[in-house]
Symmetry: C2
Subunit: 200 residues, 2 copies
């Protein structure tokens, strides 16, 4: 399979790429690294990326960020960048990328545990993750030619403990191998329209 | 209680208002009707509305729309208006309105069945509804002074059968009295952080 991994140089993306590398052809895209540069907050940039890749069998997105911060002082200025990036960015990957996906190909988006179990200061990210989940449920019904879409919803992954652990008191650490398996299930399995929750 | 109902002239809002009218002080806000005009897609308009109402005990939003249409030709241009309106609009109602809510007061937002059971052509609305649900879960943890927030998630309400029924084949009609009860439960009950699903 020819697999495009957007965010493939990030904490999760790197491990996902490593898991697929031995038996698939990989193209890594990222904002500032990888084989192709892409800014998923720009529809034109996404379109340009797919023009470079040509048709692919799987498109995985592990990129996208959103605001973490105090609810008391949160305004739409905090919320809008994440909406443009992790939310509209991932939606555009599907709306634009479906024409670059081979028959039977798959999208795998990334949301997160906040959709269901938001941490303190996580209202913006919760909102984005909930949106990505529900979008994928709908998109799974609409895609043609046996194309599939799933969302991986990670909890606090063990590799992010030092960087993010302090923001998630009481959240179980997720073994990276379990998280990577969810991406493998989405790409190589037959599941469609699933929110693959890897919370512990 | 002093209750602000945004969208209080709409199909659902009218019935919600009627249910509260006999024992509460109501302020109806709407884009083109009601006691106060408000465009929830504008933070400034929301701020202006709350400056007119002063402090309220409950803020209910039944306003907000999003795109229904073919997935095949959907682009971000179709998606963005609903994000600005039903999604960011309702988020701003909370982020701005929390300072105009009395101690122990409540927000009641409106999402919809599409978050969980999207209809054909409903990917945009599904996404918005999922976002509103998850935002409320997070906001419920963050609000101070015993303020509460819930979301009512309606299915296809019987009063909308003629207008929208054709878009929801196989969806059960929801009796309006059951839907109105969910708003009453949110406002007059003690529930917090609940997605009140009224699907049939």
């Amino acid at each position: 399979m020819k697999i495009l991994i957007i965010g493939g140089s990030g904490t999760i993306g790197k491990k996902v790429a490593a898991a697929f590398a031995h038996k698939h052809e990989l193209i890594i895209a990222g904002r500032n690294s990888g084989d192709i540069n892409v800014d998923i907050s720009s529809a034109a940039s996404i379109k340009g990326m797919f023009e470079l890749t040509g048709k692919v069998d799987a498109c995985i997105c592990t990129a996208g960020t959103g605001y973490y911060g105090p609810f008391e002082t949160m305004t739409q200025e905090h919320v809008l960048p994440g909406i443009g990036n992790k939310l509209i960015g991932q939606i555009n990957l599907v709306l634009i990328g479906k024409d670059y996906l081979n028959e039977g190909g798959s999208f795998t988006l990334t949301s997160g545990i906040a959709a269901q179990h938001p941490a303190k200061n996580g209202a913006c990210v919760a909102m984005i993750n909930g949106a990505v989940n529900s979008f994928a449920l709908a998109a799974a019904q609409e895609l043609k030619q046996d194309k599939r879409i799933n969302v991986v919803s990670p909890g606090l992954v063990e590799d992010s403990k030092d960087r993010y652990g302090a923001f998630f008191p009481g959240y179980n650490l997720v073994p990276m191998s379990k998280l990577v398996n969810a991406y493998i299930l989405s790409v190589e399995g037959a599941v469609n329209g699933r929110i693959l929750k890897v919370y512990s």
